[in-house]
Amino acid sequence: MTQSTSHAPKHSAPEVRSGADTVPSTGIWRDKFGLRLWVRLVIAALVVVATISLSGGLNSHDTYLYGTLAAWALIASSLNLVVGYAGQLNLSSGAFLALGAYIGVLGTGRYDWPGWKSLLIAGLIALAFSLLLGLVIFRARGLHFALITAGISIIGYNVALLWKEKTGGAAGISSAGPIEEGGIARPFVLGPIELSQEVHYLRAMVVVLVVMLLATSVLVRRKLGLSWQATRDDEVLAASVGVRVARSKRTAFAASSVLISLVGVLYGHWLGFITPGSFDFATAAFEPLAMVIIGGAGTLLGPMVGALVVVGFPELFNGLKDYSTLVYAALLLLVVMVAPKGVVGVVESTWRRVRRGKRPSEQEKETER
């Protein structure tokens, strides 16, 4: 995880130092490595069109399954910013996910807020918390950082349990509003868009996921994302070429935490009924981390592959259900011990080896560039 996962650092050093000289700066179109931006846009459009046209025909179980996958892919992809790209072993995702989910469910169920307002409030509170925490938690590193962020998740879980008047304690709350009105789950309303059925949430989550991945793919090629990766690869070296290490850690943490909270608003509505149990350490803090690392930290596809492995496998192989935690924890251990770059890393290196076998000179040229 600490080693460079792609050839990004090779580019980051010159770019951070002298910018325009070595790599022609072309703003958002800067796509000197990896897939070109238009290719990514086409893929994104295809995925969105495919989801919207195909999702109507799914039965309810499949809709739920793909919804779960999309939700966890969203959470893991948000966490990937700080864990994968900035290299900080952040276990605080549980607290921020709970924050977003509770604000969303309370906003719709109790205060009749429009969806935008819930999103705005959740985002602002998460931003304030992450900036404040960012001042303190980055005094610690490695083990201590993991410990203190794990503490944040556990505090979040306990607050959800204890603050009974808002969160309903262990009994939980739902977005259905007061029982007297029938307790029918209320839709999540964003201006003209109204999410009420399972399939709407699935579509919305896939669209958000696609947009998030596109934005991430652009971000990690720009100065901010490159400074995260430089910090991850070598803090001292990064600082020596002018990367503000502390600031890049804080921005990564804040960006990831705010995104997780916003995803939490959607996630809370999708669940409809939430209890603190949905946000305990194992589920909301460890599982997303496991997804990021199993799939491949610091890769775009990694968190999605991880979500597929962690959430999808037990659904696909029904007999595995009781053993799902056991299976993914064992997989995680295996990945850590034999393939630290995750599934995507294994696929990438195999692919590279195959290509090198065919056309060695071409490959050499490309890495040089």
Binding site: M1, T2, L89, V136, I137, R139, A140, R141, G142, L143, H144, A146, L147, I148, A150, G151, I152, I154, I155, N158, V159, L161, L162, F281, A282, F286, L289, A290, I293, D322, Y323, T325, L326, A329, A330, L332, L333, V336, M337, P340
Partner: protein
């Protein structure tokens, strides 16, 4: 005041578990530099094995306790050989994530074997002693005594015995220790097994005083790490013992005076506050990355 003293006494019993778990982790972490998040699972295994031996198999309590400690030590040995030895040169993040995964695996295995429902182990003997205004069960008094005795024994082992000298040499500089002819692999294994066995002892000892559940080892692990962080570079084993009892008393008081569920938050609120107020306790790399024996 009486209630307060009673709470403090109850805290001391819980503190016994924290002290033993932390001492084991302290030895493993300082000598091998392995942040083992699965260490608390040895505590849980100790308690569950005690349940299996006493309740399921009907073995007498004290023999069962010896068996539990030995079996947990053997499990620790197996884990050291199969996993932690291979992670010796891996990055700290790999060890962290790997041992967290191992903790989850062990918790799941315990849940598969013994179920999710809380289990109880009967007390080996009853009776209550009154010390001033405080009433304490004799068995709990014994726990405190055993914990103090084991701590003293470990302290003697690490700071006075010959084995302790090689242990400290390994903690200070692994390469130099190896060059001076110490069998670092063997010392590492013994340390790991010893740490696991001490945690197992804590589990077996505390089993009659708590409800057993598969996740019971996770909180002590976190507490142990927090104590290690706060003890920092200058921490010796006495600091760990005092720290373990202090945390437990704080938790018991929070449970008594605020809310039972507030108990597990206390230690993390304290940690965040500690790092905010005294970053040097955990900030300097020399003291932050490795704790010295």
């Amino acid at each position: 005041m009486d209630v307060f003293l009673q709470q403090v006494t109850n805290g001391l019993v819980l503190g016994g578990a924290y002290v033993l778990v932390t001492l084991g982790l302290f030895m493993v972490f300082t000598t091998l530099h392995l942040p083992n998040f699965a260490h608390g699972e040895m505590f849980a295994l100790g308690a569950y094995l005690q349940y299996a031996f006493v309740v399921t198999l009907g073995i007498p309590f004290w023999i069962a306790m010896v068996l539990s400690v030995v079996v947990v030590g053997l499990i620790g040995w197996g884990l050291e050989l199969a996993m932690f030895r291979r992670l010796q040169n891996a990055s700290i993040l790999a060890v962290l994530v790997g041992s967290l995964a191992l903790a989850m695996i062990l918790q799941e295995l315990i849940a598969l074997q013994w179920g999710q429902d809380p289990l109880a182990v009967p007390l080996p003997f009853s009776g209550v002693t009154e010390i001033g205004p405080v009433r304490i069960a004799n068995y709990r008094l014994l726990i405190i005594g055993v914990v103090v005795a084991v701590s003293v024994l470990l302290g003697w082992l690490v700071y006075r015995a010959r084995f302790g000298r090689s242990l400290r040499a390994l903690a200070q500089n692994r390469e130099m220790a190896q060059l001076s002819g110490l069998n670092v692999k063997q010392i590492g294994t013994i340390t790991f097994v010893l740490g696991a066995a001490v945690a197992g002892l804590a589990g077996a000892l505390l089993a009659p005083t708590t409800n057993l559940n598969p996740h019971m080892g996770f909180h002590p692990t976190l507490v142990a790490f927090v104590i290690l962080v706060v003890a920092g570079g200058g921490g010796r084993m006495a600091t760990i013992v005092i720290g373990g009892f202090t945390v437990a008393i704080l938790e018991t008081l929070a449970a008594g005076y605020i809310d039972n569920m507030a108990r597990s938050m206390v230690v993390f609120v304290a940690l965040v506050a500690f790092l905010a107020l005294r970053p040097e306790g955990a900030f300097r790399v020399a003291s932050a990355e490795k704790v010295q024996l």
